[in-house]
Point group: C2
Chain length 273, copies 2
């Protein structure tokens, strides 16, 4: 029996991502603030006490810290944090847990919970490289690829960088489509031409049609991306002028009432200036 | 013998693009302000007088207008304008030439002259659809794909839209790499991760490495893209906030001395704020 199969797995945070991780890994216990979502656990303490490896699938670094403060962690236990959080917080957490003999990896996920269920996400991991190697087998349950990107906090950094570029590509697409609409070009043809040109970006495949048909049914919420953009700006030691303009656009879209809409609704802030 | 082969082709403007079009089409005459570049022509008039189809490969709409003012055009002659120009100018030119019995297509090219020589560009054509159909055979000499996008001026509009998105994707990549550098991530790995993630854009394939190694040997000049961005902003009836921020970045890069450098040098304006 492999090391991975001999270990017991638990999950803290049973939202879309936590649920998907449980399905793919066959984790034995899962806890959530919503009791209806709990699996073989009444409290978070139950999970930390009985599992060797604990995945955290939580909304932000503050919640992560709250949960870990109450936990009785065990020597040699492995905490794998998939939260998109503040890199500085995650580096600090890794150092603190290290002092208590606990291994901490910040393992951010590029891809949605739906893609995770198809074993089609990329995992970007910060932390001790030996621990990363030890965890490969667990990541392999749900990841197409996994890459070690540096010490604790690096997974979070890489997630912010990829998210910055992804979000700006989405906003660029929105500005292009809005411009095309103002110039009375055929929008479906415009999207088709762009996908076949050097202007192509992968986000066109998932958001282009939504922008053109104004179908803002949420796949990922606009306010969530605004939160991430604010995190990028606060984490950066240099000005990020495009992300500043992007933040203003997202705030405008929120004011227009699109906070809970899909993040493709950023186009509304350009069409209704 | 096909209609295309029976026609005589000429070219006005024998720079990189005009030269490439001549090589691929086997055009018989080419004229340029630089006499050393002329082929079987001493003046532009020679080309217009002896050719049924004339490609214009010129720097902007003003030069196009100057050249056409001096030309003696023939009834039924076809002018194919590949210049990235002002859509309103090109629509007006098409109408004026139409009154004189001359066919005008604005046929913008997505791709470089090097790609044109590999028959790997996309041509976006505005103008009369019957004339477009008649010209398919000539475009096929150098284009992977050709698409009719609307009345005169539409080729120029589509070029501006694709260029807007392409340029913003490039600037987004620059901001992401600059952010990664500030956070001390491994840059080659960051580019590799982004290319395999949802953040992927096609411009990463050509500009990512140049930004990381700071190799700004020009493939296309930064000042040229700044000129295009100004054209977008002036052609738009709505504010384009990301392109406004982009214009400021490009102006900053120009001030830093990167006007004649490759447009990937936009990263310098973010790294040296």
């Amino acid at each position: 029996m492999s090391e991975a199969h001999a270990s017991t797995l638990g999950i803290i945070g049973m939202g879309l991502m936590g649920n998907a991780v449980m399905k793919m890994t066959g984790a034995e216990r899962g806890w959530d603030v919503d009791a209806a979502r709990c699996v073989n656990a009444v409290t978070a303490v139950d999970v930390f006490e009985s599992c060797d490896v604990v995945f955290l699938c939580l909304p932000n670094s503050d919640v992560v810290r709250d949960v870990l403060e109450d936990a009785k962690l065990k020597l040699g236990q492995i905490i794998i944090d998939t939260t998109t959080g503040d890199p500085r917080e995650m580096a600090a957490l890794g150092a603190e847990l290290g002092m208590r003999g606990v291994h901490y990896l910040d393992a951010t996920v590029s891809g949605s919970s739906a893609q995770l269920l198809q074993r089609d996400v990329l995992v970007m991991v910060g932390g001790d490289v030996a621990v990363f190697e030890q965890c490969r087998e667990w990541f392999a349950y749900f990841a197409r690829e996994m890459v070690h990107v540096g010490p604790c906090g690096s997974g979070a950094k890489m997630k912010l960088v990829t998210n910055l570029v992804l979000g700006l590509n989405r906003a660029a697409l929105a500005e292009g489509i809005a411009f095309a609409q103002e110039m009375e070009l055929d929008l479906a043809q415009t999207l088709d031409v762009m996908r076949r040109s050097m202007a192509y970006s992968r986000i066109m495949d998932t958001k282009g049609e939504k922008m053109i048909t104004q179908d803002f049914t949420p796949q990922a919420k606009l306010s969530q991306h605004l939160k991430d953009v604010r995190l990028m700006l606060s984490a950066s030691s240099i000005p990020l002028p495009l992300s500043e303009a992007h933040r203003e656009l997202l705030e405008k879209a929120e004011e227009l009432g699109y906070g809970d809409a899909d993040n493709s609704a950023v186009i509304q802030a350009i069409l209704k200036p």
